[in-house]
């Protein structure tokens, strides 16, 4: 109990110290625009928001020629940064990513006068986004993530300009409808090209079959999102799963009764995770188990289970009989028990 109090006190103290430290460092005054970053690299995407002036002409100047892009862009969070105090004295809008536009305006025919992302690979494009978006915990591991490794970049999923969405049309009644301009859904919030899960399934097509199995997490129905469990921007966990609560696996966030700790732990829960026994996307088997009979699932680790067999007691753990087809009939507290070392209750 003392340690819990200690942790709480530690959290509050760390928080308070951070605030005091930031206050002392003048962080809050900069919220009102007292400090600006320095340096602009006109030939590469800016690593941090650069100072306006000089060769920067402002987004409105782009509007004259790039009317459609500007129209969509104007309602995005990127465009609204101009209204945020802490961004007030920095370059925002088109030139934040495309670099200063003055030379381009003077000679629009020369593609070298403006930063264009046409022909750039996903990693190069993503570096531009990460100049601002890295540093937030959610994005910190993008450079080491699966998507990065396989050259899937930010703009494969997000539309930095705010993409126009299609017309409404009839769609499935069981699964959430596609994103349209009348049904913008989450796409409008995260500047996604499509709402989840359609976006994720467009590449991970095999998951569609899993999510239509008789037993599945309700992802296609919209009750859950892929990003509830996975962090598409990378992470330290296997399969880029999120942590559920504290250091616990993602499943524990909703399945709190499996969190433990238990007096008698079933080791795989903590060491291998829930997917050692369950197919989290979906399965034809009850409880989304990896095997249709519980016995098979158990013997893949406990294959020498009959080692305990007492001579002359042939019926004990006889897997050929119906009674021992499902180990959890007896070992019902298989996720961990507070009362029995063999998980009987």
């Amino acid at each position: 109990m003392a340690s819990i109090t200690l942790i709480k006190a530690g959290v509050v103290s760390a928080f308070a110290i951070s605030l005091i430290g930031l206050g002392a460092a003048g962080a809050f005054t900069t919220v009102h625009g007292d400090r600006v970053d320095e340096g602009v690299n006109a030939t590469a995407p800016p690593a941090a928001a650069p100072t306006p002036g000089g060769d920067y002409v402002g987004s409105e100047a782009c509007q004259a020629c790039h009317e459609d892009q500007f129209k969509n862009f104007a309602s995005t969070k990127h465009a609204k940064l101009a209204e945020v105090h802490s961004w007030k004295d920095k370059v925002v809008g088109c030139e934040q990513c495309h670099g200063p536009g003055k030379a381009h305006m003077e000679d629009a025919t020369d593609p070298t006068k403006i930063i264009s992302f046409k022909g750039k690979n996903s990693k190069e494009i993503s570096e531009t986004c990460l100049a601002c978006h890295a540093g937030k915990e959610n994005h910190n591991n993008f450079r080491r993530g699966e998507h990065w490794r396989n050259d899937v970049g930010c703009t494969d999923c997000h539309s930095p300009h705010g993409a126009p969405l299609g017309d409404s049309k009839a769609d499935s009644v069981s699964f959430i409808a596609e994103t349209t301009h009348q049904n913008a859904g989450m796409a409008s919030i995260a500047m996604l090209k499509q709402s989840e899960p359609q976006l994720c399934i467009s590449c991970h097509s095999e998951t569609k079959s899993q999510f239509t199995k008789p037993f599945h997490h309700k992802v296609l129905e919209g009750t859950m999102k892929c990003s509830d469990c996975h962090n598409p921007h990378g992470g330290f966990e296997n399969k880029q799963t999120r942590l559920g609560f504290g250091a616990d696996v993602a499943c524990i966030k909703c399945h709190a009764d499996k969190q433990g700790p238990f007096v008698f732990e079933h080791a795989p829960l903590k060491t291998e995770g829930c997917s050692a026994c369950h197919s989290p996307h979906g399965s034809a088997n009850p409880k989304m188990l990896n095997r249709s009979t519980v016995r098979q699932l158990c013997v893949e680790c406990h294959s020498v289970i009959t080692e305990q067999l007492a001579p002359g007691v042939p019926s004990f753990h006889n897997q050929a009989t119906v009674r021992f087809k499902d180990c959890t009939v007896c070992h019902s507290a298989i996720h961990g028990s507070n009362s029995n070392n063999r998980f009987f209750r």
């Binding site: 819990i4 309602s75 913008a184 079959s209």
Partner: protein
Amino acid sequence: MFAHTDKNKKFWRSSLLLLAALVLGLTGTVYSQTPTPTPDPHDGMVGSYRVTATTEIGYRWRSLTGSLEKYRSDLNYKAGIRSFDTNFLMETESGKGKLFDTLLVSNSGWGSDPNGFVRVNMEKTGYYDFTSTVRQITYFNNLINHVLNEHTQDTKNTLGDFDLKILPQNELIRFNLGGSFTHYKGTGLWTTRAYSDEFPVNADFNNRSNDMRVGAEGTLFGFDWGVTGGFRNFNERSHYFITTLNPGNNPANFAVINTLDRTFPVNGQSDFTQGTLHRMFGDRFDFTGKIIYAVTNTTSNMFELITGRDNSNNFVDSDTFTISGQAKRIQTRGDLGATWNVTDNFRISNTFSFDQFAINGAGAFDEALFRRNAIGNPLANSFTRTAGLRVDKYRRITNTIEADEQINNKIGFHIGYRFTHRNSTITGFDAQSLPTVTNTPISESEVNSTHSVLAGMKIKPTKFWAIFWDIEHGQADNVFTRNENYKYTNFRVRSNVNVKDLTFNVSGAIRNNENPSNDFITSLTIDYVTSIRSRFFSTSAEWNPRSRFSLGGGYTMRYITSHTPIILPVGSVQTQGTSDYFVRDHFVYIDGSVKPFSRLSLYGSYRFDRDKGQGSRVSSAIQFLIGSYPMDFTTPEFRAAFRINRYVDWDFGYQFYDYKDIQTPTQNYRAHLPYTSIRIYFGKDAGAR
């Protein structure tokens, strides 16, 4: 077994009330935001906000033949009013709203659906970003092919998440506040073991958790930092009971339970602190660190009273169990990631992870047994007092070093090496102080290391075509009971073609996994290696030549072959056998939508899943077990949307679910689900749909 009618009515009534309250609430919000709140449906403007919204409410009928239990376990769609997909979006055109810039309310599935959600996103750029999701899942499980149909559930799981970011775009400091809750409640069956028999037990399931978290992140001295602290309270209040004579599963013994009453309250408390640090040094060196320290405690107190007869046919007048336990887990996780951009195209990354936990659990068990023999004479009272202690310690470090080279815009590849070192121990004892004094020490430990290599490549033969593949070969940690490590090979390949109107994907994976044992039967010196081979192949295509027409389809094949040597008693002789398991699953879907006239939009879909299981394979002897789960699941769907006017569509459709397997007794079903609904559009572009 379960009564639903009243609950169902209550559910959709409350859902409608919720929906009405939501709409009223939103309307109230709108009015409170705008001095001249006259909604003009022609331009979709409400004050300074542009409203874009659709909502659909309708009625679904249900006609079912076959197994209601299996249908409800799979789908659980009921007849009644249902709220379909709904989105309500308010955005400022100017980018400056008084209270919010953007408000999005998404909602689906309430009413006669088994799952529903309401998601609210509200933000004002520069000030706050609020996200909340409330979900409810009505879960039903009553299946003859799972745990002898003795683990059933008719439950409701309600979950909520609320997150508020303050100053979300501020680079210097941002604050995060959040809370979550879960509540799982309902009825069903569970099992308990007693007197060499197993008994189905009625259960009132009830557990809940509440989380709170608070944190801040920002930039200080060039470092991006983050601190989060949080706590969770958890409690379990499920109740298990038997009130009528229960003969148990074992026909070969006398044991019966007349009454059982078990309360098993568990209280848990979890606290965590997390810190993150990130910095990009000179555009060349990216560093990320994360550390989590968590302490979780549970206390439990069980009281159980059983009456009946034991396996020797004695009367059990009273068998009481009083068990109390405490467990504590202290866990520290640390992760360090570093990427060095050696050149613009060549990078080296290293990821180091450290995970350590210790679980101390202790329990005290008291049993008081009062019995009479079969003819009613009292037997000696029996008192048993035992105690158990377990200390589980686990430490694992993992280091992965990778290099990736983007040779040009068309070709990139990566190679890597992963090392894992693990140290795990279980110590403790099982002791008895009544009726005799015994003490059995428990001690098990394992220290081992694993090595694996990984490699992959991405090739873009043309602007529209990308191929990825990667391979990983090596070993992975196993659990305590089978201390040898897994040996595995994973190979994945994925191809994406994105031509103007056509998207075509192909992907496949091969996974070979061997799970050896270092345990040997003394009389049978066999290495018990479980071998699991998984294969999947998936392809899909989407064709959208014009906005009025789209066509898509796909095929996924999934094969699993699992082979495990086992020991079975044949007669009274321990005999080596095998347990094999097969999945041979094929899933096909095709869907399309077309708008033949401006007022009519049609959608059709056909999904078919067939698992052939073991096929023609049959067991050649009693010790060779073969398992699989052959089944067919067909789910066609049709929908038509007829445009009545600029703002309203009349929708009608039909869903059909056809399920077949080979279980005995049969649990096949066919469900016909016709429905009709009204979809209402709001906003400037409503007519342009």
